[in-house]
């Protein structure tokens, strides 16, 4: 009698457990689905995300100069290198590098075509913590990051200091003899 009662009881419980678990699962999914919009709203909005492009006229940049242009809210270096700077960059293609890369690859255009050695287009954020390195300073006369002392060469490759990577090239193409489009 007691045994029968308890087994009937157990049957009832497993059924109830199932309802609890199923109900809980649905509630959890519902909660997640409700919370998600509130989290996702903080992600970059469509207008921010929209691939903006920046056109740059190169005629105004003399050899040995660089300009900074804004692309997607981030600064980009457009550097007109002197023949010496180009030679230095190419000479060090096989030097011992933290993040080995040859100069020709660093100036490549976005469509895969070769770049022009005198023009270097790089994202201006130090790969350490994002400061803007200063122009033509440091032992390699490329860039020097004042924040924690990273030194980049005239190809924007990391040569010493805490930064782990070379300055990232910005995607660009030549749109004419003296114009490029970034992005």
């Amino acid at each position: 009698m007691a045994g029968a009662a308890s087994s009937a009881h157990e049957v009832g419980e497993t059924r109830r457990d199932f309802i609890f678990i199923a109900g809980g699962a649905v509630a959890a999914v519902g909660a997640a689905a409700t919370v998600w919009p509130f989290i996702d709203q903080m992600n970059p909005a469509a207008d921010t995300r929209a691939l903006s492009t920046t056109e740059v006229d190169l005629t105004a940049i003399e050899p040995g100069q660089q300009i900074k242009v804004m692309w997607q809210g981030k600064p980009v270096f457009v550097r007109h290198r002197t023949p010496t700077e180009v030679a230095d960059a190419q000479r060090d293609d096989y030097a011992s590098l933290k993040d080995p890369q040859i100069d020709a690859d660093r100036i490549k255009q976005e469509d895969g075509q070769a770049g022009r050695p005198e023009w270097l287009v790089l994202q201006a954020s130090c790969t350490h913590l994002g400061c803007i390195p200063t122009f033509a300073e440091g032992a390699y006369h490329g860039w020097f990051c004042p924040c924690h002392g990273s030194v980049y060469d005239t190809s924007g490759r990391i040569r010493s200091g805490p930064a782990p990577k070379n300055l990232y090239p910005a995607p660009y193409v030549f749109t004419g003899a003296n114009a490029i489009r970034i992005g």
Binding site: I39, P44, T48, Q72, G73, D93, L129, G130, A139, C147
Partner: protein
């Protein structure tokens, strides 16, 4: 702890209210009749100052928000307008920005008090953890608030800190963009930082309520670390604690006022009076003084640990430095609460306090600065004066065979006084060998690597074309930099919590607690009378 309520409503209205919402009873039980240990010293008055600070920040903040504009082009000038044009804006703005520093000053003293007197031990673990939560929220709030004036330090501090999160593997980048609401610190960032900076202080207020609730449940610790034994060990909160808190808080307000009226900018960085410029990084980025110790820990990691790169290691260590505080109640194995009766632990604690100041100092220095070195940086230059230079091209079959080809070429030029290989492409290069001439050497010394390089360049310029090339041997002395010091201090910081406190509790011999303290006060009095 507080026992049954002794509140008795006196008037008809309070009796009526007490039946419906016993809020006066709550206040009476918490801040009037509440028994406090009679031996509390002035280190126990900082909680009152902290409550004041929170109220001050909220009141001044709400007022600032009436005039502040969270926009990248307007934020800076809106704060300037508060300072110059808004009636009494200068006062309110100074109180808010100095208030943040005073808040942290008080909270650090409050925390060191807890550490020294063992206030984190049972039954006060949760009370301590709630305190750690408040501290974390305060750090977050201050960081968000510091971004709002949109000066150079605001902007670059926000950039560096959001980039720290980018150090996390795989998800780092997405989290960073999610936080910034874009690909750089920009309009969406300042907007949301303002919203959250407004919100968090109210969250803090909520956690403070829990903190005080937990306090009133377990009762206050006291300088001896021995739990109060009877009513005779305590005095009612009012007037005893109230008056003492009021006196200490008055002194605190005087210090506060000195900063507000005479040196409102002493604690901030001058660069934050330059409007934010995303195209130019200031020469140094330093956080506010109260975050410097953590900044030092972050930068102490200039080496990789196995698969964890230096950047991630620094970030993890920085969070761990706060994280250990949360588990401290279970790390300290000693049954004795107060360091008064733990002579060995007290020494380690004093060193720990010095270490924290040391870390703060390191955080404000240039990490590469040399504090001590075993000798000068020296370099020996060798060159051949007036020799014959022979140039010979090197061609390797493939890039992989370059080394081999270069070595073969060098062997071919055996007998030359000096030679140098320059690689100009994947498979091509040149060998230059000098024969004849007279070998020369010169040694230069300097105090830093930079100066050494300048000296070397000077020698090269002086010798000029008389030498086709140089060999330079550099000697670097052993140097002790700010980073090294920060590493030693960081090590002690973690050793203190993870090794010293757990082991010490098991091994030390505590000092003897005098009977007058170990026994209830009542007994002591009869003994004294006898």
């Amino acid at each position: 702890m507080s026992g049954p309520s002794t509140y008795e409503p006196k008037s008809g209205f309070t009796r009526w209210l007490d039946k419906r919402l016993p809020i006066i009873r709550l206040g009476y039980d918490s801040f009037v009749a509440y028994p406090t240990p009679r031996n509390l010293n002035y280190w126990w008055t900082f909680g009152a100052m902290l409550s004041l600070c929170l109220i001050v920040q909220i009141v001044t903040g709400v007022v600032l928000a009436m005039h502040y504009v969270p926009h990248i082009n307007l934020a800076f000038s809106s704060v300037q307008r508060i300072d110059r044009d808004v009636p009494f804006g200068w006062l309110i703005q100074n109180i808010h920005s100095v208030g943040a520093s005073m808040f942290f000053l008080a909270v650090y003293i409050h925390m060191f008090r807890g550490l020294y007197y063992g206030s984190y031990k049972a039954p006060r673990e949760l009370l301590w953890i709630l305190g750690c939560v408040i501290y974390l929220l305060m750090v977050g709030t201050a960081f968000l608030g510091y971004t709002l004036p949109w000066g150079q330090m605001s902007f670059w501090g926000a950039t560096v800190i959001t980039n720290l999160l980018g150090a996390l593997p795989v998800i780092g980048e997405s989290i960073r963009n999610w936080l910034m609401g874009g690909f750089s610190v920009d309009q969406p960032t300042i907007n949301r930082f303002f919203s959250l900076h407004y919100l968090l202080p109210f969250v803090i207020a909520g956690v403070v309520a829990l903190h005080v609730w937990a306090l009133h449940e377990s009762g206050q610790n006291n300088p001896t670390g021995v739990e109060v034994k009877s009513k005779a060990d305590t005095v009612p909160f009012t007037p005893h604690a109230t008056m003492k808190d009021l006196f200490a808080t008055t002194l605190f307000i005087m210090l506060f006022a000195v900063f507000v009226f005479y040196m409102p900018d002493a604690l901030g960085h001058a660069d934050n009076y330059i409007p934010a410029n995303p195209l130019q990084t200031p020469p140094e980025i330093v956080p506010e003084w109260y975050l410097l110790p953590f900044y030092a820990i972050l930068r102490a990691f200039d080496f990789n640990i196995g698969p964890i790169d230096s950047k991630l290691a620094g970030v993890l260590a920085m969070f761990a430095a706060i994280g250990v505080l949360f588990v401290l109640p279970w790390l300290d194995t000693s049954k004795v609460r107060s360091m008064r009766y733990r002579p060995a632990a007290r020494q380690f604690f004093l060193v720990f306090a010095v270490v924290c100041f040391g870390l703060g100092w390191c955080g404000g220095q240039n990490p590469g600065n040399i504090l001590a070195k075993s000798g000068d940086f020296t370099a020996t230059l060798t060159w051949i004066q007036g020799g014959q230079v022979a140039t010979q091209p090197i061609e390797a079959q493939s890039a992989a065979q370059w080394e081999e080809a270069a070595r073969a070429a060098e062997q071919g030029a055996q007998g030359a006084a000096m030679m140098a290989v320059t690689r100009s492409g994947a498979t091509t290069g040149t060998l230059r060998a000098v024969s004849g001439g007279s070998p020369q050497t010169r040694t230069v010394r300097a105090a830093t690597t930079d100066e050494l390089e300048t000296e070397i360049s000077a020698v090269k310029a002086e010798v000029g074309s008389a030498a086709p090339f140089f060999t330079v041997e550099r000697y670097t002395p052993f140097t002790f930099t700010v980073t090294r010091l920060a590493q030693v201090l960081t090590l002690y910081y973690f050793l203190f919590f993870l090794i010293i406190l757990p082991l010490l509790g098991l091994r030390e011999t505590p000092g003897r607690v005098p009977d007058t303290i170990a026994k209830p006060v009542g007994d002591g009095q009869t003994q004294g009378a006898a």
